[in-house]
Symmetry: C2
Subunit: 340 residues, 2 copies
């Protein structure tokens, strides 16, 4: 059906290899030959068979991206950025969803699909320190999110503790004294939730404010509904609250809604800050202050590092030890924490 090198070669009256050389831009091809071949390529509409190329050279030009779910806006925006970065580098992206389930997360690491990708960018949510050995795989792997310490692969993270600390410090600077944290995971020690909770505690400590367990809202997931429920539960305790740190924007949206339902004005009565800088933060009422985690930088770094690893492996030789890349963040002040 589709034209092959053979068809083009026949039409151009040269060998298959010469066509291949032209296609791949090999230097030593006579200009006249190149022209003939290019004409034949245009006439036949030839496009390289990527499966064959992949089989021959051992690389596919495809990278995998595994993440919890695209329905979570943070991951959707991250995926978009990864795909754009990859495209700029001439590779395509195969996306897999894990649903944040442990089995599925283990699964993507060993999936037959890995045979089709040159490497994987993986954002685990369920895996913890116990699973760190599973990350010692024989293909290039970059993990995202500050979840597992000392993995055997490259690791791109933002500084969750510092980001959270800065967010809470921002609330403190705005005058808040009774600051709730929404989004903690019970018993977690390694994930984003634990790290952001740590940042929260550190900021309180720095400000000389007490840490009060009653001000911590625990949730199962980081969906909007979880934020709303946790906020309602906090309000139901009847304690005083004048600030809310949502561990991500989605939780903060839910919290915002619950606060408004309860008749609390934001930012007049309660100031709220989130984490992620979703596009949406600009359009809620009030617009949401947040921590911009540098999604673009994360995506760019992850793709760059992964492609470097792939190139390194193609070149042979000893691989350099895995590295940890920390990206910057930035507090974005919007209406939800603005002083009156």
């Amino acid at each position: 059906m589709a034209a092959t090198l053979r068809d083009v070669a026949e039409l151009a009256g040269v060998s298959i290899k010469t066509v291949s050389n032209v296609v791949r831009g090999y230097q030593h091809v006579r200009e006249s030959t190149r022209a003939t071949v290019l004409a034949a390529i245009a006439e036949t509409g030839y496009q390289p068979n990527l499966s064959a190329r992949s089989l021959r050279i051992g690389r596919s030009g495809v990278i995998g991206l595994a993440l919890p779910e695209l329905a979570l806006p943070y991951f959707a925006e991250l995926a978009g950025a990864v795909i754009d970065e990859a495209k700029a580098a001439g590779v395509t992206v195969l996306v897999e969803q894990t649903g944040a389930e442990l089995d599925a997360e283990h699964g993507v690491l060993r999936s037959p699909t890995r045979q089709l990708t040159d490497g994987l960018v993986f954002s685990p949510l369920a895996m913890g320190q116990d699973d760190v050995d599973r990350l010692d795989v024989d293909y290039p792997l970059v993990i995202l999110g500050e979840r597992i310490f000392d993995p055997a692969c490259d690791h791109v993270v933002m500084d969750n503790v510092e980001g959270a600390r800065a967010a809470v410090a921002h609330l403190v600077a705005a005058g808040c004294r009774r600051i709730a944290a929404v989004g903690a995971h019970l018993g977690e020690e390694q994930g984003s939730a634990a790290l952001r909770l740590r940042g929260y505690r550190e900021a309180l400590e720095e400000a000389g404010l007490p840490y009060d367990e009653d001000l911590v809202g625990y949730v199962g997931m980081w969906h909007r509904v979880d934020g709303a429920e946790a906020m309602r539960a906090l309000l139901a305790r009847g304690i005083e609250i004048d600030g809310v740190f949502g561990m991500n924007d989605t939780l903060a949206f839910g919290a915002l809604r619950a606060l408004q339902d309860a008749g609390r004005r934001v930012p007049d009565d309660v100031r709220v800050i989130g984490f992620d800088d979703l596009d949406e933060t600009r359009y809620t009422a009030p617009s949401l202050s947040t921590v911009d985690p540098g999604r673009l930088e994360i995506a760019r770094t992850a793709v760059r590092v992964l492609l470097e690893r792939i190139a390194e492996r193609a070149a042979g030789g000893e691989p350099s030890p895995p590295q940890r890349y920390t990206t910057g963040f930035r507090i974005v002040e919007r209406e939800s924490t603005r002083a009156r």
Copy 2:
């Protein structure tokens, strides 16, 4: 590096083909042989080389999904659904973004990546009737969204006119008489915007309400900011408005925000309805009434139809003519249109 059929065969003391037969579940393999081979597979950690398989059989088990951008929640949720459906069917999904740019949309149809996918699910946004010929490609293609009439490929759509009509009828039933439409595209005749505008007009006509060009808000894109700007422009005209039909939820979110900024209460002063049933509609204040376009059904249908086409083509024989599949919708009433 990775084990091949040859390695397994050597270890098991059988021929390569026998191992292949075991791997692919061929019937006539003696039970004892199968056991030996399976043991060898386990020991070597063999996984089929998908590039080689793909080259040999001419199919890769990968489908493409091309859409405007994942940062748009509708498409993110759609992509998530497509990936889940594909996974259930044992195929993986390669995602490409077009940014809703015409060149990029033409590009994905001819991209070398098509050599790597067995077919494509494509949601065009910029292409119009003029480009319909480009959809006559030599691989299985399913397009989404009611954009192009009579394409040479399968087409999964929801009934935009009916959905919009029902949404506006819902506003009318709630007592609205001066209903604005936010999200029209100037001069467009084929896209979702044009169809939803038509539904809007039909609903007005049915209700015996006049169509007033002053009530139509034109936008460039369907981002939140466009909805907010269009709404502000409408309000600036100083005309009376008691209902707003947002052509998608994102536009409606923006409109909601602009209304509230202008001091209009929703739903008391103005009722608002959107289109798409994004997760977010449940969590805005007020929560947003909307049209549920059956995203899941669209995704399921698209994947099913595409896989059927792929199977059909693999079986050889005359392809059946392209079909159009229309999926259902449903009005979801939330606070933004609730009567007092």
